[in-house]
């Protein structure tokens, strides 16, 4: 029988999550029928995800992969899996524990740092920026925010001024309204926009356009590398920090398969080839696989778009 893997996603209403799902299903082991991946929608609720973890244990899945909603609130999934002796892999975002079998993640602090860096570099470490934040108090907002701040603090003291920072709840529509209001409050003063994800950066771009400014006069960055952001990069409107959904999804499936199947298992995804030198397979024994972020540039954007089917 195929290896049954429960893949706990924190939600599934964003393009990034859909990409992870897609790449999970495209993993060679899944395609060849060696593994069967069942995806669970955590409905953006840490408690729901914990319940789903317990259910996966009760249903005797062979392995669990969790893309956690929260850094702290989902630790229980690791605990119950360990108690039941089921291998558990954390992917995409980190969990504040060391008890999992392994992590295949991209560091959000690093992502936040890279995007802020991109904005500040374009501004030459000088000017006024606004930060559009993720949902207040969520892991994404906290960690990416930390990265944002680190980058800002590397500029000379007082050279960069954060005019405003407020949440738009990962939503393009909310960011659009928020940015419009900021442009009203600070006419001609805003130089850069740090969106903690791409959607919000794209909302800011729409706001800038609708207010009659030229987007190219702004330094704008987001995180994730969703398709629209790739297009915007191509149009020279923003920078996006690509979070590799394929690397995370397929990498964690390989790690989980190895734990279930045993020493005979050889990694089947080609991501290990792709990241050779940056992220080594190491027999599936590494505690933390850091899937590298990729800064999307006009140079590499076409290849990325092609990979998405465009």
């Amino acid at each position: 029988a195929p290896v049954r893997i429960a893949f706990l996603m924190y939600g599934n209403k964003a393009e990034f999550v859909q990409l992870m799902e897609r790449y999970a299903k495209e993993h060679p082991a899944v395609k060849q029928g060696l593994a069967e991946v069942t995806l669970f929608d955590g409905r953006y609720d840490a408690a729901v995800q914990n319940d789903q973890g317990q259910m996966a244990v009760n249903s005797k899945y062979d392995a669990i992969i969790i893309n956690p909603m929260d850094f702290e609130a989902n630790i229980d999934v690791v605990t119950v899996a360990n108690e039941a002796g089921i291998p558990i892999v954390v992917t995409n975002a980190r969990l504040n524990t060391q008890d999992m079998l392994s992590e295949v993640v991209s560091d959000d602090v690093e992502g936040g740092y890279l995007e802020a860096k991109a904005v500040l570099e374009k501004l030459g470490c000088k000017g006024n920026v606004v930060i559009i934040e993720g949902p207040k108090g969520g892991s994404g907002e906290i960690e990416r925010g930390r990265g944002n701040e680190r980058a800002i603090s590397e500029c000379p003291e007082g050279a960069v001024k954060v005019l405003e920072r407020k949440t738009a709840n990962w939503s393009r529509a909310e960011a659009l309204d928020l940015m419009q209001n900021w442009l009203t409050a600070h006419p001609k003063e805003i130089d850069g926009v740090i969106g903690q994800n791409d959607e919000m950066a794209l909302g800011a771009i729409e706001a800038i356009k609708s207010a009659g400014y030229d987007v190219k006069d702004f330094a704008i960055a987001g995180i994730d590398g969703v398709t629209d952001a790739l297009r915007a990069v191509k149009a020279g409107e923003m920078t996006s920090i690509l979070q590799d959904a394929r690397g995370q999804a397929q990498g964690s499936i390989d790690v989980a398969m190895k734990a279930v199947v045993g020493d005979d298992y050889k990694p089947m995804s080609d991501i290990w080839e792709q990241y050779k030198g940056k992220m080594e397979w190491n027999d599936g024994k590494t505690k933390r696989y850091d899937v590298p972020w990729t800064i999307v540039t006009p140079e590499n954007v076409d290849a990325l778009l092609k990979d998405r089917g465009y």
């Binding site: 599934n12 209403k13 964003a14 407020k166 529509a173 009203t184 794209l202 909302g203 398709t227």
Partner: protein, 338 residues
């Protein structure tokens, strides 16, 4: 002396205008706080009290305003429609699939200009609304439950259309409905909002249908005794609400340039809030579109003003929550309805 109308004696006039005072009060408050910043020298000018900002507020309330118009009919008829946010997303997604330049997201996707996507959105919204209305009137179940079911199912359909993916790269003809400007100044969504309000006002106040909506919400049995086909009225009310969710779907999708599966989440709360702030009663039979308009404006000014003033997001929530309650408490008409 006037007939048939709701205005007339003194307290009734208050009822009509209480909300306007609340709105003006709010504007003065926000305007004054902004002026303070100017006086303090923090700001070069009062960013709130400009024509551009007024137009911006109209732009920003367009989606909620359109939804609130449909919600006004629904609430006056004695019901509630929780599904508008989902139907917005569903119809926006369907529209986008006919207005995208990136093929392959659905089997049929393509760029068919603006007309076809819009017709599709309105049809999808209306049909879903008809289903709401049919379930509510045929099985006599509470609107809350029927539309809660549609809130979930509608979101599911939205995702099923594209297997959970968003649709982007929309054609410029379609996007004009979200980003275009009339006379280079008035945002098209605001124009749409104006037209929707005007037509809806005429329907609610001048037509037999409008009267029947009040009658059905006021007392369904009495309405039936007067020979009104109450089931048909209810169905049409939900069709209208669904249709306007379709309109809102077009606006939002065209505005953001992308149909998102999570679009419109919890928009029903803002729409209901606008209607209730506007003086309608959730027990039906009472409500006015002018009230709803000011209700939507109050919410819009609050969002805009607090953003402009740079209030931190958690204080913003606390202030918004309190202001909504105050607006309703201070409305002198309130005493008569309770």
């Amino acid at each position: 002396m006037q007939t048939g109308s709701r205005a007339g004696t003194n307290p009734l006039a208050m009822r009509e205008y209480g909300i306007v005072f609340a709105f003006i009060g709010l504007c003065i408050l926000v305007g004054a706080l902004c002026q303070l910043k100017v006086v303090q020298g923090t700001w070069p000018q009062n960013a709130f009290l400009t024509v551009n900002n007024l137009l911006l507020i109209l732009h920003q309330i367009s989606v909620n305003g359109v939804l609130a118009v449909g919600m006004t009919f629904v609430i006056i008829s004695g019901g509630i429609d929780l599904s508008v946010g989902s139907l917005l997303a569903f119809s926006g997604m369907m529209a986008a699939s006919f207005a995208t330049r990136s093929p392959g997201v659905t089997a049929w996707a393509g760029n068919y200009g603006a007309f076809i996507p819009i017709v599709v959105a309105l049809a999808v919204g209306s049909a879903s609304g008809a289903l709401n209305g049919w379930i509510i009137s045929r099985f006599k179940i509470q609107a809350f439950i029927a539309t809660l079911g549609m809130l979930m199912a509608g979101r599911g359909f939205t995702m099923a259309v594209t297997n959970g993916n968003p649709i982007s790269a929309l054609g410029p003809e379609f996007r004009w409905f979200g980003t275009g400007k009339l006379f280079d100044a008035i945002p098209i969504p605001a124009v749409i909002l104006g037209i929707v309000f005007l037509l809806a006002w005429i329907i609610l106040n001048k037509t037999v249908f409008g009267r029947y909506v009040y009658a059905v919400g006021g007392n369904e049995k009495s309405a039936r005794t007067s020979g009104i086909n109450t089931k048909a009225i209810l169905i049409w009310v939900y069709v209208l609400s669904g249709f306007l969710a379709g309109v809102a779907g077009v606006i939002l999708t065209a505005k953001t340039g992308s149909a998102q599966t999570a679009a419109g989440t919890s928009y029903e709360l803002d729409a209901i809030a606008a209607v209730v702030i506007g003086g309608a009663s959730l027990s039906g039979g009472i409500g006015r579109l002018t009230g709803t308009f000011f209700g939507a404006l109050i919410i819009g000014v609050m969002n805009n003003g607090l953003d402009i003033l740079g209030v931190q997001s958690f204080y913003q929530l606390i202030i918004k929550g309190s202001l909504i309650v105050f607006a309703v408490i201070l409305d002198p008409s309130r005493k008569l309805t309770a």
